[in-house]
């Protein structure tokens, strides 16, 4: 039997501290659907997804009841469509097929409208990148990611230029929804093959046939635990975060393996990312503040985030058979109540956020910028973020939204988990000569680190 305190603590985390399984993501390979006949390729993709994932939503509902744990999103991640669709060239058709298949199943998102072009893009991949604005503005639940840099391959500036233009075009095409289309596109450096979180989830070519990956979250639990101990020194705080991350991750491990058993697929990874939502008590920024900062963005934020990210990894690694994905702390602006408040007050800016991305999961995430931000500036933001990832051997990413017709001082509401984004100031000095040069930055040297 468990002690009363153990049971009450678990229930309190689930009921009052927003501990939840953020996503159960079914990762599946579509390489066997490749065909030079567009109709055949689309039919194979639709059939495979709807057959493999047929029971995903009902199984998750059943597990929610069995364990009394909320599973917020059910998602599917597939092989990059730039590969699946290269032979037939019907990328837009495939985007619509993914959208239709996902809606048939009742999943929240389907990711993998993706390309891996970190070294260089093929002719077909370049064509694919140009379809992004149309694909993401004519579908609802399809998510896209493009890997444009890696520590091993360097940085593809040609692709980065194209993506800056694609993001601007997408912002215009989805102007009626405050350019929300851009929230479904993430540009990566060092993308991982097994990430269950959107918009960046896809099934890498190194993955197997089909696996269940789980993303677990619970920033509110960590904040609550820290607030209980104002007397702890930082060493003890790190230990406390580790212990809490351990428990959170064990929940992910339990749900992931139960889902895999029920569905009959491989047990994939647990991604132990602290992913915030706009709800009160579900914020990563508030954790940093509970460690002792007046407000996120203050001096000390990067250090606090570094210790949080590292302690989360240390606690989580032991709790799970296979840790993967992005694992750490996410710092999306619009999806985090503490970040939104700091952005409104001007207490945090893009430059500080960029520094923070050097020590945590991912990067400049869900940041709304003025609609008149040029494509070159967006490309250059991507290049900066990729440079951090490339040189430091970590994943970084950019998901910015140049909101059409809006400027600094305005605010946009994307609704639900996507939250509210105050438009943030961007340095408008022109980097277009740099971006227009094109070419690639060669892979960095792996010695003489200093």
């Amino acid at each position: 039997m468990f002690t009363d305190n153990e049971i009450i603590e678990t229930i309190d985390m689930l009921d009052n501290r927003h501990l939840d399984v953020r996503t159960v993501t079914l990762s599946m390979s579509l390489t066997d659907c490749i065909s030079d006949d567009s109709a055949r390729c689309n039919a194979a993709v639709y059939d495979k997804i709807t057959k493999y994932a047929e029971r995903l939503v009902p199984v998750c509902a059943m597990l929610e009841t069995r364990y009394g744990v909320k599973i917020v999103n059910k998602r599917i991640a597939v092989t990059p469509i730039s590969i699946v669709g290269a032979a037939c060239g019907d990328y837009i058709g495939l985007a619509k097929t993914l959208d239709r298949a996902g809606k048939t199943l009742g999943v929240d998102f389907i990711g993998g409208y993706s390309a891996l072009v970190q070294k260089s893009a093929t002719k077909k991949e370049t064509e694919f990148l140009k379809t992004l604005p149309e694909a993401l503005s004519t579908t609802d639940i399809v998510c896209s990611s493009v890997n444009v840099a890696s520590t091993k391959a360097g940085m593809n500036l040609d692709a980065i230029k194209l993506l800056g233009e694609a993001i601007k075009d997408l912002a215009y095409r989805t102007r009626k929804t405050d350019s929300f289309g851009c929230g479904k596109l993430v540009v990566f450096c060092n993308a991982v093959d097994d990430n269950p979180f959107m918009a960046g989830a896809f099934t890498g070519l190194t993955e197997g046939e089909c696996a269940v990956n789980v993303g677990v979250s619970g920033p509110g639990v960590v904040e609550y635990e820290i607030n209980k101990h104002p007397d702890y020194d930082i060493t003890k705080i790190c230990e406390l975060i580790k212990r809490t991350a351990f428990k959170i991750t064990r929940l992910g491990q339990l749900i992931g393996s139960a889902a895999a058993d029920e569905l009959g697929f491989d047990k994939g990874v647990v991604d132990l990312s602290l992913a915030p939502t706009p709800a009160v008590g579900d914020s990563v920024a508030r954790i940093l503040e509970s460690i002792g900062l007046e407000r996120v963005g203050a001096c000390g934020t990067t250090a606090a985030l570094a210790l949080l990210n590292d302690a989360v990894k240390k606690g989580g690694v032991m709790a799970s058979a296979r840790v993967g994905g992005l694992s750490g702390a996410f710092i999306p602006v619009s999806e985090d109540a503490g970040m939104i408040e700091a952005a409104r007050l001007g207490a945090i800016n893009i430059e500080k956020l960029e520094a923070m991305t050097a020590v945590c999961s991912v990067g400049l995430d869900m940041i709304a910028v003025p609609g008149d931000t040029s494509a070159a500036v967006i490309s250059a933001m991507i290049a900066d973020e990729c440079a951090i990832g490339m040189i430091n051997g970590k994943t970084t990413a950019v998901r910015v939204i140049p909101v059409y017709g809006k400027t600094v001082g305005d605010e946009v509401n994307f609704g639900g988990l996507f939250g509210t984004a105050p438009i943030m100031r961007v340095n408008t000095a022109d980097p277009s000569k740099f971006i227009d040069r094109g070419g690639a930055i060669p892979a960095p040297i792996h010695s003489f680190k200093n």
Binding site: D4, E6, I7, T10, I11, R66, Y67
Partner: protein, 89 residues
């Protein structure tokens, strides 16, 4: 399956009676029971075995919630594996 039934709320006459009567009706065996007051709340925790239950185990939570709805308490029924996972190494 074994599950943990927890009841949290204001102390009142008949809470244990309502829960245990419903469990008996559903042929769910109570293996252990404890009650305590925590932060002004009445907390009752039971470990139950639903192997021979005459309803699907996943519906227990709904049944107990209905049986206690007039008592103003919060009832959870959760598979014991949840607590094993989170509270045991």
């Amino acid at each position: 399956m074994k599950a943990v039934v927890s009841v949290i709320g204001k102390d009142k006459t008949g809470i244990i009676a309502a829960v245990s009567a419903e469990l008996a009706k559903l042929k769910v065996n109570i293996e252990d029971i404890s009650q305590t007051i925590l932060q002004d709340n009445f907390v009752m925790i039971m470990l139950v075995d639903a192997t021979d239950a005459n309803v699907p185990p996943d519906t227990l939570s709904d049944r107990l919630c209905k049986a206690t709805e007039k008592l103003g308490v919060v009832v959870h029924v959760q598979h014991e594996d949840l607590f094993n996972a989170m509270q045991r190494v």
